[in-house]
Amino acid sequence: MNVIECRGLSKRFGRTVALHDLSFSIKENTITGLVGPNGAGKTTLLKIAAGFLRKTAGEIKVFSSPPFNNLKVSANTFFVDDNMALPATLNLSETLDAARRFYPNWDHQLALRLFDYFSLNPRQLHKNLSKGMKSTFNMIVGLSARCALTIFDEPTVGMDAAVRKDFYRALLQDYLQHPRTIIFSSHLLKEIEDILEEVLLLREGQKRLHLPADQLREYAVGLRGEEDTVKRFTAGKEIYRREQFGKNSIFAAVRNSFTKTELQEACAAGLEVLPVSAEDLCIYLTSRSRGGIDDVFNRN
């Protein structure tokens, strides 16, 4: 079953187009990473899926029904971002108790243990927490709710690296023990790459790529060496990135449709064959120009 189905989804804020003709589906019980540069429309897409924002055009179905103002979607979806709206009168443990009443799958033991692990003070008020602690708390609530669809929108704001690492592990652990559909939006693709099963890449409100994570790593390959040689080998292929290295050598990242033999030939011709990481690939695919920031400095 597809938990989320999107066809030609568009969203406009006044005159700004945030999403344009977006079509994709998210399968049940997968962890999908939603990546892209700032302003790509990630948050907008997630908020539409959660039922907070209204679409402008196209179709979107979550659990087979339109998500806006939909109780079934709300009851089975948990949206975690860095500013969850929580009442100021309840302290952390009271908030947990309140959340518990809403979700039949709530695992209170898990919540308490995570609380303990991350050294949160149950008597503290949410608004008095540091940014990192707030994010940690929000994450705990999101995990403990065990909703069929759990959305994390940049949930690690303010968390230090150690806490982030623990968070990813916790997420993975709980996911493995209690499978559900998770969408994780982050600009730190490198960090979360290991726990993702699929990656959905957005650029300026449109889908740029939607692939299983391991395929992403093989998607492109980089060739570096003498300019003419590189040009020869990359002829006819889509070039994602082109960087100048010294007087006559360039680096080019292209779609990896080479055979093994072709790559060997490239090596023999004096080129370096470099893998393109998923993170780099996403950067290349979403940048404005093929030269990246170098174009600012190149006048030709």
């Binding site: 709300s74 089975n76 709206a85």
Partner: protein, 250 residues
Amino acid sequence: MMSLTETSLWDAVKKQYVFKLQSYANFFVSLVIVQLVALLFSAGGMAGTSGIGWNNILVEVKLYSGTGIFIFTVLCTLANSVILTLPFYRNIDFSFVGSRLSGNMANIGFLVTAGLFGGITATLGSILLRNIHYYTGGGGEILKSFFMITPGELVTGMAVAVLYLILFSTAGYFAGVVVQLHRSLLVLLPALIVGLIFYEAANEQIRIFSRLIEFFVFERSPFHFSLKIILIASLLWIGAILLSNRKEVR
């Protein structure tokens, strides 16, 4: 495979209602504070003093009334109901499980509960006021007229107070929703109302607000009074629901 949770509207409303009773306990406490302040003022004699003297006799009567407590409660309730429509509070509805409809229904449930609380405590506050005067200074100076309130009158007073508070709650809630429909309305609506009030004060012929007030205040039949309030409150509430049903949140 994870089986999906089915939630009925009623279920969601109940859960949200209970959640609000806890989360918004500060609203109830604000009513208490406001009533205590009103009590303080009323104990000093808000309704004024009247006196008369002739020959060698001077009679002075200092007037007291519990109505001040009710008025303060109304104002606080009105403010609270508008505040409830603000984005900060609206968004809380969507942190957990809810739709706009369930959130609105839970809000009205909350406001009615707060109205019950406010109406009952305001009326009892009148009793407290009388006790305070009786036990500080002795009863000898207190005129019997209207000092005693029979249990029947007390219940009537409570019921009327609660109904008025429900009316003002829904009016405030509706106004809050309307004002947030468009940024310009934030200035336009209050300006319009204030302008109308001044206009009416200056011109005798226009009697919109006077008639509105009389519509309720001069209604002597309990049945008609309750009916009026329930009908109008329901209309306002339905209006609020319809107007906010397509609003984007968070």
